[in-house]
Amino acid sequence: MIDWSAFLLVTVASVTFATVIILSFATGVRLLTNAQNVTGKAKKGDQKAVIFEFWNRTGAYALFAVFGTAILYGIYLIVPAFHK
């Protein structure tokens, strides 16, 4: 009567998607904070800090883009016209 396989599928899908989204956003937050922490040094011309700042900031934005993609995928799922 109860479709346990559907329930299991929903559980696995929910945990997987939520983990991917939260991991990417939270890592993005961490990298962005890293970058912001050395912005002052980088502006003063510290070469090491400039490189560190660049890679952390780039990584953060790439991860925020993953979150953005997830939001777009959510909209895709919500609007039936897109997938039916």
Binding site: I2, V10, S14, I21, F25, V29, T33, I71, V79
Partner: protein, 443 residues
């Protein structure tokens, strides 16, 4: 299609309205009343569920209360136009197919749904509007068609079991998401002291704006359709629409506007419960709860069974409350909410059944029922004004909640200190008395 029908509809309405009050009520008048009641239910559905998407961003300060309800209202309005899939397959599957649905029955069911929605809103309890609607309709069907008219296995499968699963699943996902968010962004005491680096967890507020908007959009596509489905059901039952395989444009527009207006009203009492009553929510938790809620809702609705948005959102908030170290969940509040969920179906059903009895067996019962519903509605709104909660004080109430806890702790500390001082004083006094006694003895 839309224009022709609307004119046809208006003409019949005018023609028949002159007979209002003479003898048994005209079928078309009843249809108009049912549609009005359905739109009012849609309106209550709107403000009842604003909290699902907007309680956490309001609580963490990611969005100002007014901005939050405006975004939610727009998302619900847009969402209502996106799809009519659910409306076509309206959940009358809970009522057996051979039961002939008459507008009066839907009328009685709607009164049950509306009154339960208003009661739970007044108490600040987030309960499923869909379950209230199902409950009201099932209660009415019990009176009209007896026990045989209701599909009890379907109620168990489509309402009761999902109601148990929704908060549990969303709670677990939100718990994990919160843990991950906190572990990933954690900074050691050493790092914070030596470099002055923060955790950056306030950045989650930006994510919250997107996740809450998505939740509101998803709500609009689902919930407005239930009203569209009910109106279409009545139009078909009254012979005004040939079949239920499509939804008239004016029905879509009316339902979309009603739910958006309701959402804009805010339902601040429920926002306060979900934003501050269940757990103290910080930005990382709010974001984790919304991601968990959104993912759970989208996964379930796309993979076979629909879960109640309200129950998912409440479960997610509890899960995120448990996920933060030192975060406390107010279990007595959570318990009250669960009791509200358990009561939703039977309570709305009881009112739906009583309304049906009134409509069926008392002459002029439908009008009496309408007057009672209006009177109760007006009195609930009047009583609620005594301790009004709105955009102006929902946030201070949210902050107030933590202040109360803080001051309680401070009071305990103060009391402990006072007791220590009193003890020391008493000891000193005793010593002094002893000394005095010894001096006296010497003399």
């Amino acid at each position: 299609m839309f224009n022709r029908n609307a004119i046809f509809f208006a003409a019949r309405f005018d023609f028949h309205f002159s007979s209002f009050g003479k003898g048994p009520m005209d079928p078309l008048t009843i249809v108009v009343l049912v549609i009005a009641l359905a739109l009012f239910f849609d309106f209550t559905n709107g403000f009842h569920d604003t909290a699902n998407a907007m309680a956490t961003p309001i609580a963490t300060g990611a969005l100002k209360p007014r901005t939050a309800v405006i975004i939610a209202a727009v998302m619900n309005l847009v969402g209502a136009f996106l799809s009519t899939e659910v409306a076509k397959a309206i959940s009358v599957s809970l009522i057996n197919e051979d039961v002939q649905i008459v507008p009066e029955m839907v009328f009685a069911g709607l009164t049950g749904a509306i009154l339960w929605n208003l009661t739970t809103w007044f108490l600040g309890l987030p309960s499923s509007s869909s379950h209230a609607l199902f409950g009201g309709l099932v209660g009415a069907a019990l009176v009209y068609a007896g026990v045989a008219g209701v599909n009890f296995p379907a109620i168990l499968q489509k309402v009761v079991i999902p109601a148990l699963m929704a908060p549990l699943l969303a709670g677990i996902v939100a718990f994990l998401a919160t843990k991950i968010a906190y572990i990933v962004t954690a900074r050691s005491q050493h790092a914070r002291e030596t470099t002055g680096i923060g955790t950056g967890r306030n950045s989650f507020k930006v994510g919250q704006i997107f996740s809450s908007s998505l939740l509101a959009l998803s709500h609009g596509t689902n919930d407005a359709q239930k009203t569209m489905g009910v109106i279409t059901l009545v139009l078909v039952a009254a012979g005004l629409q040939s079949s239920g395989d499509h939804v008239e444009l004016w029905v879509v527009v009316a339902a979309a506007l009603a739910i958006a207006l309701g959402t804009y009203m805010g339902g601040w009492r429920i926002i306060r419960t979900m934003g501050a009553g269940l757990a103290e929510i910080k930005p990382a938790q709010g974001f984790a709860a919304e991601v968990a809620g959104g993912v759970t809702i989208l996964a379930s609705s796309n993979l076979g069974f629909a879960l109640s948005t309200t129950q998912v959102a409440s479960g997610a908030i509890i899960g995120s409350g448990m996920g933060r170290k030192g975060g406390a969940v107010r279990w007595n509040k959570a318990g009250q909410i669960v009791v509200g969920w358990l009561l939703t179906l039977p309570a709305a059903g009881l009112v739906g059944a009583l309304s049906s009895l009134l409509v069926l067996f008392v002459p002029g019962g439908l009008i009496i029922d309408l007057i009672i519903t209006l009177a109760v509605t007006v009195s609930i709104f009047q009583i609620s004004r005594r301790n009004k909660i709105g955009a102006h004080n929902v946030v201070s109430e949210v902050e107030g909640a933590s202040e109360v806890i803080q001051s309680a702790r401070q009071i305990r500390i103060r009391e402990a200190r006072a007791a220590k001082v009193a003890k020391a004083l008493a000891a000193a006094e005793k010593k002094a008395a002893k000394k005095a006694a010894a001096k006296k003895g010497k003399k």
